[in-house]
Symmetry: C2
Subunit: 210 residues, 2 copies
């Protein structure tokens, strides 16, 4: 069976770069694998901003959008990144409406980092078990939209809503997602192609003050 | 001592997205840490393309450049990403000259994935011990520019030339680099802020056929 999915990644001013660029690499690598292995199908992975204009990310990278909310096709999967810009998007009615409209017909609705607070405000993650960046757990709990805000998990699945922890966690979640969208073999080949054999020179250590 | 470094990241059509976007996240996170901890200094991390025009990356993301080869300031650190576009850049005399000119005054000269073949062709990595994406080890060896092309290391240091393995390995290398440019505490805090506690759902497994 040929699967050609529409995968929409939301971008906005102040989106944290790796939050969406990590999953972008994982999700587009599926097409590279297909080309190598002569597997049919081509997923359309595209960036959507409110007006279709380019955005300036949290750390200054300027990235072009492929579609606006008005022109984006119906997606099979949406991904909402985090970053300081989520504090504006969480009350941007155009963003909340676009997410809710798209999510109603999506197979998977996903977020990285503080993107989960936008997903919760927009509706799809309301009342759900979600996660976020370790430093934002309290903030997202205090908003009260989610059913439960889980700490210490790399990604959390509740129905078709999948939320990941901070920044780099989106990479792990996206690999898991590839296994759901395609199969384990595809996900393993993506891991191999992006040489995802992490060897951080310093271990992650959460400070006591959380 | 206030350290405010110039960190130039080369981009070109066909650059693999995560090759430069992973290190971008790591290297710009230093400024976020400084803001939180009220540490003075601000590193300028910027993207340089040949003409200063935006580029279309290997998987279709369109990213704006901050400088052209002509307008980019002298960098303290340069980073050359990989991707299919390296097969063109490795014979692009403007690119080779820009790298050589910059590298002559850099503290560190770095690459990710097949970026090392461009660094070797340009001069800085010629005769050096380098690495690259596992699938490109043979290709880079056959070019004959490097002294030795090492397999099975996440990143390789030879003098001030630091080359990393494929795609995601640039993240690990960049964290190591932050410890050299600043200190271990800064690198550890960057790891914490980007929640770099990788938990891939599938382990990396290199195929036998390499």
């Amino acid at each position: 069976m040929t699967k050609s999915l529409n995968i929409a990644i939301l971008i906005f001013d102040g989106a944290e770069e790796l939050d969406f660029q990590g999953p972008w690499e994982v999700l587009t690598m599926v097409n590279t694998v297909r080309a190598f292995k002569k597997i049919e199908g081509h997923d359309k992975v595209y960036l959507v901003s409110e007006t279709g204009a380019k955005v300036t990310c949290a750390n200054g990278m300027r990235v072009e959008a492929d579609f606006s909310y008005a022109t984006a096709p119906q997606a099979d999967v949406i991904l909402v990144p985090g970053g300081q810009g989520t504090r504006r998007e969480v009350t941007n009615s155009a963003t909340l409406k676009w997410i809710a409209d798209q999510a109603a017909h999506c197979t998977w609705v996903t977020s990285v980092c503080t993107g989960s607070m936008v997903l919760a405000a927009a509706g799809p993650a309301r009342g759900k078990r979600i996660t976020t960046h370790w430093a934002a757990i309290g903030e997202v709990r205090n908003r009260g939209d989610a059913g439960e805000v889980v700490s210490g998990q790399r990604w959390v699945v509740d129905g078709n809503v999948v939320t990941s922890a901070g920044v780099s966690a989106g990479i792990d979640m996206a690999i898991w997602l590839v296994a759901q969208l395609h199969d384990d073999d595809m996900a393993k080949t993506v891991v191999r192609m992006m040489e995802y054999d992490p060897a951080p020179p310093f271990a992650f250590a959460k400070p006591d003050r959380t």
